[in-house]
């Protein structure tokens, strides 16, 4: 065996990253739950013995902080000295580290090499059902966490490899889909053992000293990368404010603000002054806020910090927030739609710095995932059906590009919208339309388009639960670009009545009713009058805008002559010069 040189350490580091990836693939492969293996609503990772993140694999952005803080919460409550090989700890406590909502359960396992903890394997994923007042466990009208499901307050589900049967029985008794939920507990914990096996293989091949050296080198590299990039960012203090306007439980719009301070070696987000926690499930806990902060920090500092995306990389990040705000809810404030606060935090920080780092950002996007449940009892099969999905929408324009159209929001990621053909097989609906909502922010580069998705109910009963923000406040434009457009949900009853809202809770529907999800278009970038007239012509040809809009918004003269569309450059110049 050659000694431990730096190339060996690189291979060890690569092996640790691969262990986190393999845990991810393994869980996706062995899960019975489509929200895991289709929606990839989960994350897996490794930390060092102190809970510092070494490597993490993600299907969505929302769990970026949860691996490390879940492990730290275990160390704090149970203590290293009370952990034994084969122990697996469960937590879904949003307020102490698990971070998001009760449906997302973290499992943590110490990896012992000899009698020493060398690392922790941890993962966290969305369980289909964790009990509580509503099917699927998240609701848009909870007022306390006790309505949102069963809580695992950092408890050992396995002790020295042995399942605690009492815990399993309690899960079975408290959830609506016991066999699937318990099946997923098994898949989730089995994935931890895959990572343990890989880490131990690395230990026996290279020795535990090499593992520890590799971890140290990884964390050093992470920090080095972050400092290199922080140096390139503008330094100073940047502020932004806004509102979260879901109208859930008829609450008022919640004021939010962020102050961002960037120096050579720190990136601080101060949320002080943001509105108080509310009796509606749109709050996030402090750990949710830390997750959002990591997402936006990574997006701004180095989005492709894959191998280096570890605790070292995140070490310059600090978040200041007093307890009890919309971003730091405490028990028993509800959090089941915590993505609203989470996403707005990300957006607020981007908005604060956007004018100074236009090359790293895009203008505001539709932001709210418009989380949706359409459920009922299928007339034909007499079985319950539950369509649970996010919606996609428009993203903002950048300094050199139009915004993206029909893309999932920042809180999502490798999230695939279900095809109409598959949806119609699974649920008693017809998807009558899936097209662009052609309202977006004009600009030198225009915002991307949101979507219009229509579901016709072909069943005697159904109910709609959904929540959207940016219902009245629009995605922001950048450098003179216009604002984008709003998210809204409309129900067209078969008797001709139309209801439009941001939030619906168990809203009853009948045969022939139509639900229309309209997601917002992104903000524009730059002055619309600077848009290249040829691009405006293309937009007209593609029927994104009309000839009239080209003239009014962009001051570009496009003519229609015997069915041919052409650009009158001379007139355009005149129009633009006489503005």
């Amino acid at each position: 065996m050659a000694g431990v040189d730096r190339f060996t350490l690189e291979n060890v580091a690569d092996g640790l990253v691969a262990a986190a990836d393999e845990m991810f693939l393994s869980w996706a492969r062995t899960s019975q739950s489509t929200i895991i293996y289709e929606v990839l609503d989960f994350a897996t990772g490794l930390t060092d013995a102190e809970g510092n993140l070494i490597a993490q694999a993600n299907g969505v952005t929302g769990f970026l902080a949860t691996i490390t803080y879940s492990v730290k919460s275990v160390l704090k409550k149970i203590g290293k000295e009370n952990l034994k090989p084969g122990d697996i700890i469960l937590t879904n406590d949003p307020y102490t580290g698990s971070g998001t909502h009760l449906c997302d359960v973290s499992a943590i396992m110490p990896i012992f090499y000899g009698d020493k903890i060398i690392a922790f394997a941890a993962n966290k994923g969305h369980w289909n059902e964790i009990g509580g007042k509503s099917l699927g466990s998240w609701s848009t009208n909870a007022t306390e966490i006790y309505q949102e499901g069963l809580q695992f307050p950092i408890i050992k589900a396995y002790e020295q490899g042995k399942l605690n049967v009492a815990i399993r029985d309690m899960i079975e008794a408290n959830v609506r889909t016991p066999s699937m939920t318990v099946g997923d507990l098994y898949a989730q914990t089995a994935a931890l053992r895959v990572a343990e096996k890989r880490v131990l293989e690395l230990c026996s091949r290279y020795g535990s000293d090499a593992i520890e050296m590799a971890i140290k080198q990884m964390l050093d590299n992470g920090k080095k990368l972050a400092l290199q990039e922080l140096e390139k960012l503008p330094h100073g203090t940047f502020e932004a404010e806004g509102y979260i306007d879901t109208e859930a439980n008829d609450i008022d719009d919640v004021y939010i603000k962020a102050k961002v301070t960037i120096t050579d070696d720190s990136f601080t987000i101060d949320l002080t002054g943001s509105g108080d926690q509310v009796p509606a499930p749109i709050n996030c806990s402090r750990y949710g806020a830390l997750g959002a902060a990591r997402v936006v920090y990574r997006a701004l500092v180095c989005p492709h910090a894959d191998t280096e995306g570890n605790e070292g990389f995140y070490s310059p990040l600090k978040v200041i927030v007093p307890d009890g705000t919309i971003f730091s809810a405490v028990r028993p404030y509800p959090v089941s739609c915590n993505w609203e606060a989470f996403s707005h935090l990300v957006d607020l920080v981007v908005k604060a710095v956007a004018e100074c780092v236009p090359e790293r950002v895009t203008a505001g996007h539709f932001l709210s995932i418009v989380g949706t449940i359409v459920g009922g009892i299928d007339d034909k099969t007499k079985e319950p059906f539950v369509l649970c999905e996010p919606q996609a929408g428009g993203w903002g324009a950048g300094f050199d590009k139009d915004g993206e159209s029909g893309l999932v929001a920042i809180d999502d990621g490798e999230t695939y919208i279900i095809p109409a053909e598959v949806a119609e097989h699974k649920y008693p609906i017809v998807v009558e339309q899936y097209s662009f909502n052609l309202q977006s922010g004009a600009g030198e580069y225009r915002g991307g388009y949101g979507l219009v998705r229509d579901y016709r109910i072909c069943n005697s009963n159904a109910e709609l639960t959904t929540i959207a923000s940016r219902y009245r406040y629009k995605p922001w434009g950048l450098k003179g670009g216009n604002e984008g457009s709003n998210n809204k949900v409309q129900v067209y009853h078969s008797d001709g009545k139309m209801i439009e809202r941001a939030t619906f809770s168990n809203y009853p529907l009948g045969n022939g009713d139509l639900i229309r999800f309209i997601t917002g278009g992104g903000g524009g970038y730059g002055d619309p009058l600077s848009r290249d007239p040829k691009m405006v012509l293309e937009d007209v040809e593609n029927e994104y805008i009309t000839i009239k809009e080209a003239n009014e918004i962009y001051k570009v003269d496009i003519k229609l002559k015997s069915e041919n569309i052409y650009l009158d450059i001379e007139n355009t110049n005149n129009l633009r010069n006489n503005k």
Binding site: A2, E22, T34, E38, L407, E414, E421, V431, Q433
Partner: protein, 682 residues
């Protein structure tokens, strides 16, 4: 005399292999590919090899024409016709954001811009019943628009057309009447699988490449005929089989990955000859390494193919029967570099053939894997390429010195580092196809091919703990050899969700019957009759999304087959997903009929090769065996001079015309009855 020949266009070279049907002797030839007009390179190869085409009984061609037209965006001006309400579905895609933290992420741009996407009034339900009849006037208006816009190809993809093609066929008929000069592709003629975005994109791709493919295949066939070819030539398909040029013209999308497939088919055929059922193929060339896993002598198809996909870019889905191959940017030309935090990386950038590795001495100054292998004594490039290039080890050393000086280590140590990192990258790909999918490498042989297969294969096989490593004869053109072994193959896939219960047996049987009849009709229409079929189904537990491809008995199914199908599904399900749901009912999602048409071939025979290790010994030199350290006086042999059953104890280097095999200290290499080199633990 009668020959089977394969001509395989690669990125740099076009490979040619001719198999003498009587003696199993091989003739190989290589000439540079000619991207301006690929047919020239093909003909140069055929003529250079010197076997007249009128002595050829079977000619198979692997081409890159389709994938090039797609990646270079040089296909036809294409329009798309969709169901009302779904004009934008092609652009929306599945709306996933692969590059999670990048606010500036860009989705793939659709191959058909919005102005050429048209809706027709019509709608079917999920079972294919007509909800809204087709408005033919819409089609006529669209035809007028297309004519005016100079549209060359039209894709038609209507909702639920996999369940009932009636509207698509009507649209197709009208368009073919109104626009006889345009190529029409109906989704129901390309792929009858659900998921409208994936099917639309596949149909659009097919339409987009159809005019280009037609022209290419027609031209090439005409030239070959003029030069004496008396049989219909065949094209290699991505499903591991072949089809006549005429059939290929209809659905050219089926050749999208025809190149890399040859090596996998070759590996499997070699396995059959050697009585090995489980094979991992590993093809290491100049730019990439490709690996695939063959289980039970069955080549696996992927249901997850995307053009241009990377870990941070979603790419474009193609639903076609495509052999499951993982490709990574690691080959001889892969460039070593230092990332911003100081880690050594190898690839995916490659120096290719031009400027090539630094030692080629034609302008390349970046350190490559080949330079590192040269410095470590594993390969002697002067001997290989000395006649083509003015090979210079100092150029390799100068290039690798850039890495060495950054870490303040010797050039030799840096070279070792480059090899170690590259091996690790390749190992990850091998683990991905095997261990990570629930297979135990102990049950597999590794067939290592390509110019660099023998250089890295023995080490990787050892690390992966495979049974043995096989370096086939002529590893540099093994892919083309594999193409010679194929039968014609067409895959027919049909989505229809059906519970596997007695009540539905008649329906199940009749769907298979229709698919088989259709397959026979297709072959018949090209004058081909020697057809045999196998049946499979994508089956899942009710309530789950993922399916498992399960073999289905060939006979008409009766109630006794139901538990057998379930058993076979459950064992495969458990292997792939590690669990069974014994009380959950199962259902078919996709019916799959694989229709082969036999191509006449003679059997591969053992070949007598005279030789001895003594004659084969050429020289000895110092070689760096990484963890085993620097070993002095490692014997170097010439593979062509080794005879059957000659065995060489590692450490050793075995050189041949187009490749090198690096045998590790605890391995031995033996020449088998067919001329393959078998590397095993000693």
């Amino acid at each position: 005399m009668s020959y089977r020949i394969a001509v395989d266009i690669g990125g740099t070279f076009t490979d040619y292999v001719a198999l003498d049907e009587e003696t199993s002797a091989l003739k190989i030839y290589k000439s540079p590919s000619t991207p301006k007009n690929f047919a020239d390179g093909v003909m140069n190869c055929i003529e250079g090899a010197g076997i007249p085409l009128n002595e050829v009984s079977f000619l198979v061609h692997g081409s890159t024409i389709v994938i090039n037209a797609l990646t270079e965006r040089k296909g036809a001006r294409t329009a798309l016709i969709t169901t009302q309400g779904f004009r934008d579905a092609l652009e929306i895609g599945r709306a996933n954001r692969t590059d999670l933290y990048n606010l500036r992420f860009q989705k793939p741009t659709p191959f058909v811009p919005r102005k050429y996407r048209f809706e027709v009034t019509e709608r079917l339900d999920k079972d294919g019943n007509v909800l809204i009849p087709l408005d033919e006037n819409d089609v006529k208006e669209i035809a007028t628009r297309c004519k005016k816009e100079g549209i060359e190809a039209i894709a038609v993809c209507l909702l639920h057309s996999y369940a009932n093609a009636v509207h698509e066929e009507k649209v197709g008929k009208l368009l073919r009447e109104l626009l006889p000069e345009a190529e029409i592709s109906l989704s129901s003629e390309v792929i009858k699988e659900w998921r409208e975005y994936e099917r639309s994109n596949t149909t659009v791709f097919n339409a987009y490449v159809k005019p280009v493919a037609r022209k290419y295949l027609d031209t090439l066939k005409e030239i070959m005929k003029q030069k004496g070819l008396q049989h219909e030539p065949y094209a290699m398909l991505s499903n591991g089989g072949s089809a006549t040029f005429e059939m290929t013209k209809m659905t050219p999308i089926n050749v999208i990955e025809s190149g890399p497939v040859g090596g996998v088919i070759g590996g499997n055929e070699l396995g059959k000859i050697l009585d090995e059922k489980n094979i991992i193929t590993f093809d290491i060339g100049g730019t990439t390494a490709k690996t695939s896993l063959v289980y039970n002598n069955e080549v696996r198809l992927t249901n997850d193919y995307y053009l241009e996909r990377t870990p941070i870019y979603p790419g474009y889905p193609v639903r076609s029967a495509i052999v499951d191959i993982i490709e990574i940017g690691a080959g001889g030309g892969s460039i070593a570099w230092i990332d911003p935090v100081g880690n050594l990386k190898v690839g995916p950038q490659s120096a290719g053939a031009d400027p090539g590795p630094a030692c080629y001495n034609i302008g390349g100054t970046d350190p490559t894997l080949t330079d590192a292998n040269y410095i470590s004594g594993r390969i002697d490039l002067k001997r290989f390429l000395g006649d083509k290039y003015n090979i210079d080890i100092h150029k390799s050393r100068d290039a690798v010195a850039k890495i060495a000086s950054h870490y303040n280590i010797s050039v030799e140590e840096a070279a070792r580092g480059i090899i170690r990192i590259a091996n690790n990258n390749m190992m990850n790909a091998l683990r991905l196809v095997s261990v990570r999918r629930g297979y135990d490498p102990h049950d597999f042989v590794l067939v290592a091919m390509g110019g660099n297969g023998g250089v890295h294969g023995p080490f990787l096989g050892k690390e992966l703990h495979v049974k043995k490593i096989i370096i086939p004869r002529n590893p540099g053109v093994f892919g083309a050899w594999g193409m010679l072994m194929t039968d014609m193959r067409q895959d027919y896939i049909q989505t229809r969700v059906t519970p596997i219960v007695e009540d539905h047996l008649d329906a199940i049987n009749s769907i298979y019957f229709e698919l088989i009849e259709n397959a026979n009709d297709v072959y018949k229409s090209y004058g081909l009759y020697d057809v045999y079929v196998t049946k499979a189904a994508d089956i899942r537990y009710v309530g789950q999304e993922h399916t498992v491809k399960t073999p289905i008995p060939g006979h008409t199914l009766d109630s006794k087959d139901i538990p057998l199908i379930r058993k076979s599904f459950e064992s495969l399900h458990e292997q792939h997903y590690s669990f069974k749901l014994e009380t959950t009912p199962i259902e078919i999602v996709n019916y799959h009929v694989i229709a082969y048409c036999k191509v006449q071939k003679s059997e591969i025979k053992p070949i007598k090769i005279q030789g001895s290790t003594k004659d084969a010994f050429r020289t000895s030199r110092q070689v760096d065996f990484d963890e085993y350290g620097l070993i002095k006086d490692v014997p170097v042999y010439v593979r062509e001079k080794l005879g059957n059953n000659n065995s060489i104890q590692g450490p050793a280097i075995i050189e041949e015309k187009t490749s090198v095999t690096v045998v590790y200290p605890d391995q031995k290499a033996t020449v088998d009855d067919y001329g393959n080199l078998i590397v095993e633990e000693d």
